[in-house]
Amino acid sequence: MEYNLGVDIGGTFTDCVVVDEAGELTVGKALSTPDNFAMGVLNAVRNAAEHLGMTGEEALLHAAKLFFHGCTVGDNTLLTRSGARTGLITTKGFADSIYMMRGRMTEGLTEAETAHFYALTKPDPLVPRSLIGEVKERVDYKGAVVVELDLDEAAAVVDRLVAEGVTAVAVSLLWSIANDSHERALEELIKSRHPDLFVSLSSEVAPYLGEYERTITTIFNAYIGPTISSYLADLGGSLAAKGLPNAPLIMQAYGGVLDSDACVRRGVGLVESGPAAGVVGGQYFCDKIDEPNILVTDMGGTTFKVGLVRDGRIEKNYSPVILRHAVLATKIWVESIGAGGGSIGWVDEEKGLLKIGPQGAGAKPGPASYGLGGTEPTVSDVDLVLGYLNPDYFLGGRMRLDREAAVRAIQEKVADPLGMSLTEAASGLYRITNAQMADLIRRATVERGHDPRSFVLFVEGGAGPVHCGRYAAELGIKEVVVPMTSSVHGGLGLLASDVVFEYGKAERLVYPPDPKVVNATFAGLLDKARADLEKMGFAGEEIAVIRSLDMRYRFQCHELNAELPQGTAELGMEDFRWLDQAFDELYEQSYGPGSGYREAGKEIITFRLRAVGKIQHPNIKRHARGPADPADARKGKRDAYFEQERDFLPADIYDFDRLVPGMAIQGPCIVESPVTTIVVGPGDAAEMDEYRNIRMHVQA
């Protein structure tokens, strides 16, 4: 038997999802080991091997065909600021660009932080001013050299940075996207003088218009590159020593995997790859359940995230924000807010208002009901007091919840100060939490021109299924899916990934463009793509190419990415006539009828090419439907609060493990599984489908 493994490192747990040739899934779990992540990885593989009846991780690794890996090393290195001592080489006169940040100092801040202007600060720079070297050179917008690069001066600059102790260097020059010869010359110079330095060129890492964002992206890349390199070398070594035949494939935040070499060169692509894997997992299920439009939500301990799959395609973000800086690196579009099971409810005493988050109780002390010393009321405490969570069956009974502590926290910190009853306070916090999540989903849909009601809601994360029925109703969403892999969805996303390379080139062309120029630019990108994919062993039919253009109406500043028909065929005037119309439609779809201003004309800003090396995706097993009557899965009754009735109602409790496909249940009821709790409100109904997902129908 051959297996594919997807090992996903999370904040608390490392998950190992294994799929065999028959499509059977097996899950292994172990605690993450931040001091040496490889240990947690091996432990999770061993745990999965044990579930498969093997002894030791070697047996499973030997039998592994593909090993997919999602890691947090990029994020951790940035968050803990433990990356390489990094220098920057840039065009003379522009060293301050990364501090000026175009004035974009509120990116990544909360609404409250943004509003308090006099308290704002800029983020600490990863490269201090003393580690920036300016070199004399200048290229203009056409790529013409205005001032030659002074190599003697540059050599002195590089030597000074090395003397200052830098081990990584970002090179980012003005207009290197139009002419990269100066960056190339600098790379050569650095390599010849200091061959061990880790070098990132902006024209390679982020070949897009805009020196601030391009430079920051290049700095992030250089800063985390060496750490990623040693991490992947260590992990690869450990896995190979235990018998893994093929090198691991590493998940990228744009949704796709790369081998270690490619991954190290483009380390910035690793950052935030965790949430991306979850969205890929959602997309995988799109096909299975035949729903092209899904909203993938993930409510964990501290954050609530949402991603979007539309017409079967994942929405991308071409300029995401990392550590309060806007970067130019494609990522799966994921928005988040600080609302999770651990978010703290509190009273703004001056204003007499009830608030939730963004502060969270974290893993320690955690919610009051965890009994680890927490005294603040959290969302989890609210869920317990309202009767949704079973104090004796949390995490399958591995943890007992202290209801009294939760009651005390809510009573003292919220109910008493506001003169409310315990139930009013708890249900109020529940409503506000759900409203916040609904507001985020609105931002993710209506502000981007989509109607949330045209989506199926996909619910991941342990805390989500307690709340999803309500935030779905608030948005008018009727269909909700709690996937059976809800708690290890990232791992499933890994298994469903292809090898994907992303290429881009900034090139401004007034529309309609000369087809020769367009074809030549795409051909250049395609050559790189073929070379990279062939190096990884892909050929012919296994390669898919998706070309797209970032376009805008002339004089506008906001581009939209318009996808061209699949394939690599030469483009002609016919195609541009088609695209002309398609762009108008895309624009109006995104910004409303009448928003497009065709009279202004259009222009192309950026060429993008996505090259996919197709991998056989798991065909997870479909079970036969059984009887509709769920009586065999019912395990009791308890009172739970339901907002619809503004009261506690007796709710049937079902055991997820005893539900079989086809069983239908009626709200008010609650489904308990070892990893989550699903709340079905009065008037709502649910059933288990052939993949053992719970499909909920919400009365909006």
Binding site: G93, T121, Q556, A600
Partner: protein, 714 residues
């Protein structure tokens, strides 16, 4: 005063407050995405607001608080004009830009839209953007040469742009036709229409979902709640009267504006009496915009975390005599006002409010050195792809130092709210220009215990300009005291300037494959620009220096290590570190601690020896620490000692004077050339002097000011 109390349940209140805020965000996002001008997409020079059926502000988004009330006035004007004639119907949208009626100046085109649910008017949405052109004397709508409003372009007292959901092409084309850039202005209207559509649709969904009755109850309560919160905060601040004055420079003339802020219990009165008569140049600020300036300042100091709604207006009154710069009448021109009269009004309102909260133990942490404004330039011509364009060159100014830390470097364009600029590459891709540098200015930020934020300086040349010249309109706040002001002794920031370099050596430099690194190396004739139109020829350069934040407190109290870091970061020169901050360096980098202490002590001794005009202390009150009533500022408190209330130095307990006397009269006063405030104040030499007031007891710097030099006798 009762506690803010809600009758609506706090959960519903919280949820709906956030929904309304989110709708304004979405309106703003739509403006930014669909809009085309730099003002809209980068400067956030726009409004996205929701209004009650009567025009009261219900919820205004994050951007441009100044316009929040003005748009409310616009709604009322439309109600007045159309209720009897023309009618207000579901799906209508109105355009209005008459500055005497509602807007601030003509390029700010307001679009206001009634929102109906089942034929019932439930509110309004309103937006404005600064449109690309209004067919005035100068491109872009700010006309330095205008002497009356008729020179300043289209003036619309209210017209229907969309009638029952259908665009009126006749109106649309008539207006865009009167501009230099019909396509761009059309795009501006499009973005406003799209944004109002979004606002209307979301409001209708919300009111339908919760029911009109409940929404009316909750929204009414929101306004009351905000008003009661602000009143409560005002009661936490001591009563008092604070004054500020400033000048507007245009051409070779100077106009004076002044304000007196009186705080009595929970009411604020801004009185602009004493301000000069309206001017025959576009610096005049319509009354509703003067109110808006005070509103914005109030929001920033005491109300930054409160919902932006009409409740905030209930605690303030603004008095501005008719026929003055702050309440002009026909035919006073107004097109330059946002960066002249308006900037000064905001600065004065902010300065008095900052003085006020500085006396409150609780609120003094919000004290921030105020900035008057910055320079910017319109540029227009034919670009490298052969199209005519009009755009704005802007840079990032630093904001003032705070009571707890340094001001932010290169923080924004408009002081007091987040705003962004384009990348150099974006500008060069679109316009026939090339930047020689864009960087932080050295020694520009005001010194202090906490340093002001450094501003940007940029040197720009024409590049690939098909017509070999570019039309420039020098805008922004003119004059040499237009930048950051210090507070509590902090030094002012270097002036924000525009310099036209004629016949530079830059083409020779380019031919030799090099470029100048400094303005001084560029050759040519350097002209400091006021408000004016000019042409940038192929051999010319434009230098833009943005605002620099003022300092907070005494520079000799600044941590020497922070000064050393500023030197490493290139923000402060070694010379200034030594002369202004009294920091002595040992060898190449480190601070000489002992040397610094000695140097600072000797500087303080010099200060105490400065002229003393101590006349206000009637009888020596003795010494000792009094019972503190409240702070007056960083280094002074008001305290009770014996029978009297005194102004006392918080550093050395020296008693300056009785509470009702002017404590500055009891200080040691030093008068020096402006360059003592910073080397870049050299532009002010001869005309101005730098005055500093020190505590006679310990020499700590208490206040500083750049004042007009007194005429030399004889």
């Amino acid at each position: 005063m009762s506690e803010p109390k809600l009758s609506v349940d706090p959960v519903t209140f919280e949820i709906l407050s956030h929904r309304l805020y989110q709708i304004t965000q979405e309106i703003g996002t739509t403006l930014e995405r669909v809009g085309g001008t730099v003002n809209t997409t980068q400067m956030r020079d726009y409004l996205a607001g929701l209004y009650q059926p009567n025009g009261d502000v219900l919820c205004a988004g994050d951007a441009m608080a100044w316009h929040v009330g003005c748009a409310g006035v616009a709604v009322r004007r439309i109600i007045e004009r159309f209720t009897d004639e023309g009618g207000i119907f579901p799906g209508d949208m109105f355009l209005i830009n008459d500055p005497y009626l509602a807007a601030i100046h003509q390029p700010d085109m307001y679009v206001v839209s009634p929102i109906h649910v089942d034929e019932r008017l439930i509110g309004w949405s309103a937006t404005f953007v600064h449109v690309a052109d209004v067919g005035a004397m100068s491109p872009g709508g700010n006309s330095p040469g205008a002497t009356e409003i008729c020179h300043e372009g289209i003036r619309i007292p209210g017209i229907k742009l969309i009638e029952r959901g259908k665009i009126r092409r006749d109106v649309f084309d008539t207006i865009t036709n009167m501009t230099r850039q019909p396509v761009m202005v059309g795009l501006d209207f499009k973005c406003e229409i799209a944004a109002n559509n979004v606002g209307r649709a979301r409001m209708q969904e919300l009111y339908r979902h919760y029911g009109v009755e409940l929404m009316e109850k909750v929204t009414g309560e929101m306004l009351d709640h905000t008003a009661s919160l602000l009143r409560k905060r005002l009661l936490e601040v001591p009563d008092g009267v604070w004054r500020a004055h400033g000048n507007i420079e245009a051409g070779d003339k100077l106009w004076k504006m002044q304000v007196e802020l009186t705080k009595e219990r929970d009411l604020l009165t801004f009185d602009f009496a004493g301000t000069d008569q309206q001017a025959p140049v576009g610096i005049n600020l319509p009354y509703h915009a003067t109110v808006g300036a005070c509103f914005e300042s109030l929001l920033q100091t005491l109300g930054y975390d409160l919902p932006k709604n009409h409740g905030l207006f209930r605690v303030m009154e603004v008095m501005a005599p008719e026929g003055t710069i702050v309440n002009p009448t026909y035919p006073a021109p107004v097109s330059l006002n946002t960066t002249s009269g308006g900037a000064v009004a905001r600065f004065l309102a902010g300065s008095t409010l900052i003085q006020m909260i500085g006396t409150s133990e609780k609120w003094s942490k919000e004290v921030t050195a105020q900035t008057l404004g910055t320079r910017l330039a319109r540029h227009a011509g034919v670009n490298q792809t052969g199209g005519y364009y009009v755009s704005t060159l802007v840079g990032l100014g630093g904001i003032g130092a705070r009571s707890w830390g340094d001001g932010i470097n290169s923080a924004g364009i408009e002081m007091g709210r987040p705003s962004t600029v384009h990348n150099v590459e974006w500008v060069e891709a679109n316009f026939p220009l090339l930047y020689l540098y864009r960087r932080h200015l050295q020694d520009g930020a005001g010194a202090g215990k906490f340093r002001g934020g450094a501003g940007e300086e940029s040197l720009i040349m024409p590049h690939d300009a098909p017509e070999a010249n570019i039309q420039i309109v020098a805008l922004g706040v003119a004059g040499l005291r237009n930048s950051g002001f210090g507070i509590y002794g902090g030094h002012p920031g270097a002036p924000s300037i525009l310099v036209h370099v004629e016949d530079s050596d830059v083409r020779e430099a380019v031919a030799a494959k090099t470029l100048p690194d400094e303005l001084a190396e560029a050759g040519g004739t350097h002209n400091l620009l006021g408000y004016r139109d000019l042409r940038l020829s192929v051999d010319d350069l434009l230098y833009l220096r943005c605002a620099n934040g003022g300092g907070y407190g005494d520079p000799l109290e600044r941590d020497p290590e922070r000064v050393a870091q500023d030197v490493v970061d290139g923000l402060v020169s070694r010379e200034a570190a030594e002369s202004i901050y009294g920091v002595v360096f040992a060898g190449t980098d480190g601070v000489d601690g002992a040397g610094t202490r000695e140097k600072r002590e000797s500087l303080k001794r010099e200060r105490q020896a400065a002229v003393t005009r101590a006349t206000a202390v009637a009888e020596p009150p003795g010494t000792g620490t009094g019972a503190v009533r409240h702070p007056l500022q960083e280094s002074l408190v008001l305290c009770d000692l014996g029978e009297h209330t005194w102004v006392q130095c918080a550093r050395c307990d020296h008693i300056l004077c009785e509470s009702d006397a002017d404590w500055r009269e009891a200080c040691s006063l030093g008068s020096a050339p402006p360059t003592e405030a910073g080397p870049l104040m050299d532009l002010l030499l001869d005309q101005y002097e730098f005055q500093r007031w020190y505590c006679p007891g310990c020499g700590v710097l208490l206040d500083s000011e750049i004042a007009a030099a007194e005429a030399q006798p004889g």
